[in-house]
């Protein structure tokens, strides 16, 4: 190049330079425009527009901040920018459902958003500033927003104890224990109950091979397409705990052969008094009488039966014991009689009380069960099964362990495998990429995965050992919620350890009381100092509440105290001696520190005071809205017609002052009664006495132990 040409640029080049700078400037200009059009800024502008049209404009705009809003809590590792778009979360005037999202206020919750951020409860990506990144599963983020139906799962990650505010989580945890998920899986903070399914050691004396075949093939629970659960074809709300195993014909034959051959101890056939049998055999209404007795004893408090009303058949009754509609076609009649007399003789841990039967009652009720609670077609679809062959029994024994039966059932001499199923203690914290969906045609997220695994494990993994559970939609959601709460080790910040209460009591008193208590299994329904069931009233303070003669009369002939209750205490046919042992011990031991009998002077309760109390009861406080005396009044609270014979004066006083101190969950509201009013009401209530005709139960003879 010539020197004079140096510095001269050809005009074509100049043009190119000029063009490139224009393009460069234009490209540079795009980014502020792009920035201006970012998703969150759009929401900011929309919010301003919305706030200007809102009556509370001044307040809303005063709190407005144009940039990215962030909740930063370093000690909890929270960086949440959700409030950038969800700007009204703390604005009281935006609480109404008509306010469009994302501007609506957060409903009142026990945690302040400012102290906790959003992601701890809702999941999602807190630092994201785009809608999809923040809410959904993306390549970089696999913990999408939790649908609000399952949000209690987030509560459970920290709160290991049951909160009243999280009923769905509590129910789910209860189901984890009820279905014995910990039999096979490891789950944070849930312990294996002492015993779940029946002990099968002596099963061959109770059941036939055919019945076992049918049961193993299709446990009687069926859920139809609309989600109705049926047992034996009858509708119910309870899901029996036995799941359905996908067994082949050969496996069914093997297991039924093995189980039906388990006979460790022969049934002791009970010999009825021949005179009783001869007298009763002749009566035409023997079965009907048996049914009456069955009902009188309130077997239905624990067992359900199918009842047809207005063309609709449903299971009615309790779920502590098994459903009995077709039990007559299930069990051996000799076994049944032996069981009714002494359940613990067959199963030492059986929850069924040992009733004190008379020969007559036992005969009648057994006949009723074997004659009426039957279904001739029950086993019609079961193939003819010959006597078990040794190779079948061997296969069955192997399957019992391989299928996981041993995780719930006990057979003496058979040791279950440890850690049979996968560890689920961190299931709720799993990322989608950690889950194996297999060929399943379900959405790729944790919720769908959990629900498919529970309801149809084979759809996710055809070789899964996990059986199929039948859950209605409510319980499925509850169980999912509880599993979502399983996010590894809980923080050691003094939060309670999760405990799922076991109805089987740890409280086993010694002595004469202990014997009667064990015999009638009081703890199956009642709670004593935190141990026991919750079907019937908590008796931890019964000694302070009830008068001894009333207790004895009640135990001998239980009458319902609350008219709206469906379940009633069974008629145990207790002896006088047993009733007084129970009453003495309850009166001595189960006392409330809040009730002070020494502080009550019964001499104060003059007729004058009682009439003041009557006035207060009837006019000022209108107690009759909830309580019945005689034939008038409400039926929310217990009937008070006989309260003078029933409750102790000290209990009545303490109860009137603060019912929740004596029974924390009770419905009766605490009122601001003066000391004089309490005295007057107590005086009046003590005058309410019924004279009961002495009812004499027929003395039991022979049959009980």
């Amino acid at each position: 190049m010539a020197p004079e040409d140096m510095g001269k640029v050809p005009s074509r080049m100049r043009f190119l330079f000029a063009l490139s700078s224009v393009v460069f400037v234009a490209v540079l200009a795009v980014s502020p425009v792009k920035d201006l059009r970012r998703e969150w800024k759009q929401y900011k502008r929309d919010y301003v527009r919305y706030a200007q049209a809102h009556p509370d404009t001044k307040r809303l705009l005063a709190d407005y901040h144009p940039g990215i809003d962030q909740i930063w809590i370093p000690e909890m590792n929270v960086v949440d920018r959700c409030t950038t778009c969800h700007q009204g979360t703390t604005q009281a005037s935006l609480a109404d459902a008509s306010v469009p999202q994302p501007f609506r206020a957060h409903p009142a919750i026990p945690h302040r958003v400012k102290d906790w951020g959003c992601v701890i409860c809702h999941r999602g990506q807190g630092a994201a500033t785009e809608v999809a990144e923040a809410h959904e599963t993306t390549l970089a983020w696999e913990q999408p927003l939790l649908p609000s139906r399952y949000i209690q799962g987030a509560c459970g990650a920290c709160h290991r104890g049951n909160l009243p505010e999280t009923p769905r989580l509590n129910r789910g945890r209860q189901l984890l224990a009820q279905f014995n998920c910990v039999g096979c899986h490891r789950l944070q903070g849930i312990e294996r109950p002492a015993m779940l399914g029946p002990d099968l050691t002596n099963l061959g004396t109770k059941l036939t091979r055919e019945w076992l075949y049918k049961w193993l093939k299709e446990p009687r629970t069926i859920v139809d397409s609309s989600g109705n659960v049926t047992v034996n074809g009858y509708e119910t709300e309870e899901e029996p705990r036995m799941p359905k195993f996908r067994l082949t014909e050969q496996e069914l034959r093997g297991l039924s052969a093995y189980l039906s051959s388990l006979r460790s101890k022969p049934v002791e056939v009970y010999q009825f008094n021949p005179q009783v049998v001869a007298a009763w055999e002749k009566k035409p209404d023997l079965v009907e009488q048996g049914e009456v007795r069955f009902r009188q004893m309130f077997c239905s408090t624990c067992h359900s039966l199918a009842v047809t009303r207005a063309g609709e058949t449903k299971l009615i009754g309790g779920d502590i014991g098994p459903e009995l509609t077709k039990v007559g076609s299930k069990v051996d009649p000799d076994w049944l009689t032996a069981w009714l007399r002494d359940p613990q003789g067959y199963l030492p841990h059986a929850e069924m009380p040992r009733y004190l039967w008379s020969d007559e009652d036992l005969f009648k009720v057994t006949r009723y069960i074997t004659a009426k609670l039957t279904d001739p077609d029950l086993l019609s679809d079961v193939p003819k099964l010959a006597a078990p062959k040794p190779e079948e029994m061997q296969l069955g024994r192997r399957l019992f362990l391989e299928k996981g039966c041993a995780s719930c059932h006990v057979i003496q001499g058979v040791t279950p495998q440890k850690d049979f199923g996968p560890d689920l203690s961190n299931l709720g914290g799993k990322n989608v990429s950690q889950l194996e969906f297999g060929q399943a045609k379900i959405p790729r997220n944790l919720l769908a995965f959990i629900q498919a695994k529970v309801t149809d494990p084979a759809s996710v993994n055809p070789a899964a050992r996990m059986p199929q559970y039948h859950l209605n939609s409510v319980d499925l959601e509850a169980l999912t919620t509880a599993l979502l709460a399983m996010t590894g080790t809980p923080s050691a910040s003094g939060m309670e350890r999760l405990i799922v209460s076991h109805p089987q009591a740890e409280f086993h008193p010694a002595g004469a009381f202990g014997e009667v208590y064990e015999r009638y299994k009081c703890y199956a329904c009642h709670r004593f100092n935190g141990y026991g069931g919750d079907l019937a009233p908590d008796l931890s303070y019964e000694g302070s509440r009830a008068q001894r003669p009333w207790m004895i009369a009640f135990l001998k002939n239980p009458q319902t105290l609350r008219p709206t209750l469906i379940f009633r205490m069974p008629q145990f046919n207790m002896t006088d001696q047993e009733a007084s042992i129970l009453a003495d011990y309850l009166g001595m031991v189960f006392q409330s520190p809040a009730v002070n009998p020494a502080g009550v002077n019964q001499k104060e309760f003059m007729p004058q005071l009682a009439s003041t109390g009557k006035q207060l009861y009837e006019v000022k406080y209108q107690c009759r809205a909830c309580h019945t005396i005689g034939s008038t009044g409400g039926y929310v609270g217990p009937n008070l017609s006989n309260v003078g014979n029933w409750m102790t004066p000290a209990w009545i006083e303490a109860w009137l002052k603060n019912p929740q101190a004596l029974a924390p969950g009770t419905i009766e509201p605490r009122r601001a009664l003066t000391e004089d009013e309490v005295k007057a009401l107590t005086a009046y209530l003590l005058t309410l006495r019924q004279v009961t005709a002495p009812t004499r139960a027929a003395p039991a003879q022979g049959a009980g132990r």
């Binding site: 009556p55 509370d56 307040r59 703390t90 009281a92 005037s93 609480a95 109404d96 459902a97 206020a105 957060h106 409903p107 009142a108 919750i109 302040r112 958003v113 609000s148 139906r149 009243p164 505010e165 009923p167 769905r168 989600g227 009456v292 009902r295 009188q296 309130f298 239905s300 009842v307 009303r309 207005a310 609709e312 449903k314 009615i316 209605n472 939609s473 409510v474 959601e477 319902t560 709206t564 209750l565 469906i566 006019v619 000022k620 406080y621 209108q622 809205a625 909830c626 009044g633 409400g634 039926y635 929310v636 929740q660 419905i667 509201p669 605490r670 009122r671 601001a672 005709a693 009812t695």
Partner: protein, 163 residues
């Protein structure tokens, strides 16, 4: 012997009556998901469900524990105590009656009871049993299920959503 027989008949007839109670309550709630606390079936239109937020859901929980016995025609136990009372308490979804009452009035009548507010003394005071937050939740629930629907008065700073 006669007394025994009479007692037996009484017990049997009581037991026979039970299924009908159960069915009545079951008929009200067909979809089991309605038992959850984040939705409520419209009391006057079984086809409609109402979504509830956290506060309203807590209100529903408290309502079905404490209030349902007198402020609904079907209860978890079957029969309602409402028909027993005179004057009959309003149903919880009775918008015609409750929409006209301010949040403050509702808060007061639940806290202090009917007699304090010039209403029936059969309504007991709940202020010493429930917290103010719990009572707010119950009001939020009543507002959510009201028929005709409840529209809050257009005034800023209603206290029932404040955190």
């Amino acid at each position: 012997m006669n007394a025994r027989l009479g007692l037996a008949t009484l017990l049997v007839s009581a037991l026979l009556g039970l299924p009908s109670c159960r069915q009545k309550s079951a008929a009200v709630q067909t979809d089991p998901l309605l038992k959850a606390y984040d939705v409520e079936q419209d009391w006057s239109d079984p086809q409609k469900t109402i979504p509830l937020n956290y506060q309203q859901g807590q209100g529903k929980r408290l309502f079905y524990d404490k209030c349902v016995w007198c402020h609904a025609d079907a209860t978890p136990a079957g029969p309602s105590n409402r028909s027993n009372l005179n004057p009959a308490p309003p149903l919880m979804n009775d918008g015609a009656t409750l929409n006209g009452l301010s949040d403050e009035f509702m808060q007061n009548i639940i806290t202090l009871g009917g007699s304090a507010m010039g209403k029936s003394p059969m309504m007991p005071p709940w202020g010493r049993t429930l917290t103010q937050d719990e009572i707010r939740a119950i009001i939020a629930y009543a507002r959510a299920i009201a028929q005709p629907p409840y529209h809050p008065p257009a005034r800023p700073g209603s206290q029932y959503s404040e955190k």
